[in-house]
C-alpha cells in the first residue's frame, strides 16, 4: 500500500460511522443516478397526464395536452444523459443496443427506452403534429421549410380522411402508451427493487411506488410549465384546465402517499435484520431529506394546500398561488424521494453495522454544476421544440381581454377540442 492511498483512506475513514466494508466508504451512484429516475419519472407522468385527454376524454386538460407531450419528449431525450455522464464512454452506449444481453436487467434499459421513444412518444407526436408540420413547411422559408418537411417525413396529405386517420392513430398509440409509460418507470423501479442484497431497495412495492411518484411529478411539472409559459405568451390561464390538473394531482399524491406509507409500515412490521441500521439512517442522515423534504414539504403541505382549495372557495389568484406553490413543493419532494432511494441505499453497510456519508462534488463530471445543467437541459430542449412546433390551440385559452372577466366555469369553456382542427393556418 502506498502512502498516498494510506492518507486517503485515513481521511475517508472519518466520514464513516460504525463498521463498514472498504468498498462501501465511497458512494458510487452519485447525483447523476438520482437525476435518472427523477427525469424518467417526469416523462412517464407527463405522458399519463396527456393520455387523460385522448383515452379518458378529460376535455378540461386539452389545453395542456400538446405541452405535456412535448414535455415528455424533451425530458425523455435528456433522461439517458445522466447515465452516460456517470458511466463515461458515451460512445459505447450503442453497444447495448447492437449486442443485446437479455439476461441483464440493466442492459434492457436501452430497449425499454427505445420502445417508449420510438413506438410511443415520437409516433404519437408525429401523428398529432403531422398536419401542422405540412402546413408550416409550406408556409416557412428555407431552411425551416426543410426541417418541417423532413419532420413530417415528406408527407403531404392533409385531406380530411388523412387527418381523421391521424386522430385515430393517436388514440391507438395512447392506449399502447399507457402500459408503456407504466413499463418505463416501473422498469426503473424494478432495477432498484430487484437488488436482493440491498434491503433499502429490495421490495416488490418499489416499482409501484416509483410509478405513482412518477405520475405525481409529471402532472405537477406540466401544471408548473403551463402556469409559467401561458402568461409569458400573453395569454391567461384556463382555470378549468389547471383546476382539473390539480385535482388529478391531488388524487395521485394521495395514492403515492398511501403506497409509500404502506411500504414503510411493511418494513417496520417485517423488522428484518436490517431494520436497526435503516432506522439509524432514516432518523439520522436522511432525516431532513426524508421526513422534512419528502414527506412534510413534498407531500403533506401541498396536499393540505389543494385540500384548502377544494374545501374553501378561494379567489382565482389565491388558487393559482396555491397550485403553483404546491407544484414546486411536489417537484422538490419527488426529487428528495429519488435522492433518498438512490443515495440512502448506499449509505449503510451491507454488514448492517455502519453508515457512510455522501459528499457531492461541486465541479467535476458528477458534481452539482453538471447536475444543474442536466436539469436545465430538458427545459432548453422544450423551449426549442415549442419554438419550432407551437403546441397551442388558441381557442383553448381565453385572451388577455377575457382574463379580467369572471372566471370561466367548465360549462362556459370552449367545446371539446379533441376533434377540433389543428391550429396551423390552412394554406393548402
Amino acid at each position: 500500500m502506498n502512502e498516498e492511498l494510506l492518507h486517503n483512506l485515513a481521511d475517508l475513514s472519518k466520514q464513516v460511522w460504525g463498521y463498514i466494508y472498504p468498498n462501501e466508504i465511497e458512494v458510487h451512484w452519485s447525483i447523476m443516478i438520482v437525476l435518472y429516475p427523477y427525469l424518467t419519472g417526469l416523462v412517464a407522468g407527463a405522458f399519463i397526464l396527456a393520455s387523460l385527454v385522448k383515452v379518458f376524454r378529460v376535455k378540461e386538460v386539452q389545453p395542456a395536452y400538446r405541452l405535456a407531450m412535448l414535455t415528455a419528449l424533451s425530458f425523455l431525450l435528456i433522461a439517458p444523459l445522466p447515465l452516460l455522464l456517470h458511466l463515461g464512454h458515451p460512445e459505447r452506449n450503442f453497444e447495448i443496443l447492437l449486442t443485446p444481453n437479455p439476461s441483464s436487467a440493466m442492459a434492457m434499459f436501452g430497449f425499454v427506452y427505445l420502445w417508449y421513444l420510438m413506438v410511443v412518444l415520437l409516433l404519437e407526436i408525429w401523428f398529432d403534429f403531422r398536419r401542422d408540420l405540412i402546413v408550416w413547411g409550406r408556409a416557412a422559408s428555407w431552411p425551416l421549410s426543410w426541417f418541417y418537411r423532413a419532420a413530417s417525413l415528406f408527407s403531404n396529405d392533409i385531406s380530411d380522411a388523412a387527418v381523421r386517420f391521424d386522430k385515430k392513430a393517436v388514440q391507438v398509440i395512447t392506449v399502447i402508451g399507457i402500459p408503456s409509460a407504466f413499463l418505463l418507470h416501473g422498469y426503473v423501479g424494478f432495477i432498484f427493487g430487484s437488488i436482493k442484497a440491498n434491503p433499502w431497495w429490495s421490495s416488490v412495492l418499489i416499482p409501484i411506488v416509483f410509478l405513482f411518484s412518477a405520475i405525481v411529478s409529471g402532472i405537477s411539472l406540466v401544471l408548473l410549465l403551463y402556469m409559467v409559459i401561458t402568461p409569458l405568451r400573453g395569454k391567461s390561464l384556463n382555470m378549468a384546465c389547471i383546476d382539473k390538473i390539480a385535482s388529478f394531482l391531488f388524487y395521485a399524491v394521495i395514492v403515492d402517499f398511501s403506497l409509500e406509507a404502506l411500504d414503510f409500515i411493511h418494513r417496520l412490521y417485517e423488522s428484518e435484520e436490517s431494520i436497526k441500521i435503516l432506522s439509524h439512517m432514516v432518523t439520522g442522515k436522511l432525516f431532513v431529506s426524508l421526513f422534512v423534504m419528502q414527506v412534510l414539504l413534498g407531500m403533506v403541505l401541498p396536499l393540505g394546500m389543494i385540500v384548502l382549495v377544494k374545501t374553501v372557495s378561494c379567489s382565482e389568484d389565491l388558487r393559482k398561488l396555491l397550485y403553483f406553490t404546491s407544484a414546486i413543493l411536489i417537484q422538490m419532494g419527488i426529487f428528495a424521494t429519488r435522492w433518498n432511494v438512490v443515495i440512502g441505499g448506499q449509505l449503510f453497510s451491507k454488514s448492517f453495522l455502519g453508515l457512510t456519508t455522501y459528499k457531492m462534488e461541486v465541479l467535476g463530471l458528477e458534481g452539482l454544476l453538471v447536475a444543474l445543467v442536466v436539469l436545465a437541459l430538458p427545459l432548453v430542449v422544450l423551449a426549442i421544440l415549442i419554438k419550432l412546433m407551437p403546441p397551442w390551440h388558441d381557442e383553448d385559452e381565453p385572451g388577455p381581454a377575457a382574463a379580467g372577466e369572471t372566471p370561466a366555469t367548465p360549462a362556459e369553456l370552449p367545446a371539446p377540442t379533441a376533434s377540433a382542427p389543428a391550429p396551423a393556418p390552412d394554406v393548402a
Binding site: M1, N2, L6, A10, G18, A162
Partner: protein, 249 residues
C-alpha cells in the same frame, strides 16, 4: 373484408414503414459489418476477455515469492498474530520488487495511521480483537516502537480485562452487575493474557453458579430471586439472560 384489403394504404403508414425500414436496415448493416465478431459470439467474447485479463501485467508477487529472500521475517510472521495477513497487505504490490529487488523498494508503514485502520476502537469489531483509542494510546508514538509488526504482542501483559474487552466493560459498567469483577464469573488464566485465542477464560457451566446470588436462599438483598427448580428448565441462565447487561436493575 375485400374492401379492407384493397383500400389504399394511408400515406402515413407508407412513410413510417419506410423510415423504420431504413433504421432497421441501418442497425443490421452496422451489426453485420462494423461490429467485431468477438462482441457477438458469447463464447468467443468470454474467451477473449479471459485472454485480455491474463495478459495484463501482474502487480502482486504472491506470498511464496517473499519466502525466497526474507525467510526470517516470513517465519516470524507465520508464528505471530499477523499470520493470516499477506505480506503485500502492508507492504503493497511486490511484483516489480521481485523482478528487481535493488531497483524497486517496497513501502513499509512506519507511522501510526496505518495500524489504526484495523486496530482503532470500533464497537462493531469482534470482542477480543486488539483495539485502542488512537487519541489516548501513546499519542504521537509510532506503533512499531513497542509492537513488532511481524509478530505483534503487547509489550507488557494487560492488567485489566477492559484493555481488550472494552465494549463489554462499558456495557457492564451501566448494568446491575457493574459492581462485580470480571473474575467473579470468569476464571482467566494468566496465559490468556499472552495468547488470548489459545487459552480461553471459563464461563459458568451450571445454573447453581447464578443461583448463588439469584436462588431462593441467596443472601444478596437486591438481587432478583428465581426458583431454579421451576424456572428455565434445562437451560443455563446466560443462554437467555445476557450477564453483562441483565434485565432489570
Amino acid at each position: 373484408m375485400k374492401s379492407l384489403l384493397f383500400r389504399p394504404v394511408p400515406e402515413q403508414i407508407t412513410r413510417l414503414s419506410l423510415a423504420f425500414a431504413l433504421l432497421a436496415s441501418g442497425v443490421f448493416l452496422v451489426r453485420a459489418h462494423a461490429i467485431p465478431q468477438t462482441w457477438l459470439d458469447r463464447e468467443y467474447h468470454v474467451k477473449s476477455t479471459l485472454e485480455r485479463e491474463a495478459n495484463r501485467p501482474r502487480r502482486f508477487a504472491g506470498a511464496q515469492a517473499c519466502t525466497e529472500c526474507h525467510e526470517d521475517q516470513v517465519k516470524e510472521k507465520a508464528e505471530g498474530n499477523h499470520r493470516t495477513l499477506a505480506c503485500e497487505t502492508c507492504h503493497g504490490a511486490a511484483g516489480k520488487h521481485v523482478e528487481d529487488p535493488t531497483e524497486t523498494k517496497l513501502f513499509a508503514p512506519r507511522l501510526r495511521d496505518y495500524c489504526v485502520l484495523c486496530h482503532a476502537y470500533d464497537p462493531s469489531r469482534p470482542t477480543g480483537f486488539p483495539q485502542i483509542n488512537p487519541a489516548l494510546h501513546n499519542p504521537l508514538k509510532p506503533c512499531i516502537e513497542c509492537h513488532k509488526p511481524h509478530a505483534p504482542v503487547p509489550p507488557e501483559t494487560p492488567k485489566e480485562c477492559a484493555a481488550c474487552h472494552g465494549e463489554i466493560e462499558r456495557t457492564k459498567a451501566v448494568s446491575s452487575h457493574a459492581a462485580l469483577a470480571c473474575t467473579a464469573c470468569h476464571d482467566a488464566p494468566d496465559a490468556h493474557k499472552v495468547t488470548p485465542r489459545l487459552v480461553r477464560p471459563t464461563k459458568p457451566q451450571n445454573r447453581e453458579f447464578c443461583g448463588k446470588c439469584h436462588g431462593p436462599k441467596s443472601e444478596e438483598k437486591k438481587a432478583p430471586r428465581v426458583d431454579l427448580a421451576a424456572h428455565g428448565e434445562r437451560y443455563l441462565c446466560w443462554q437467555c439472560h445476557y450477564p453483562h447487561l441483565p434485565e432489570g436493575k
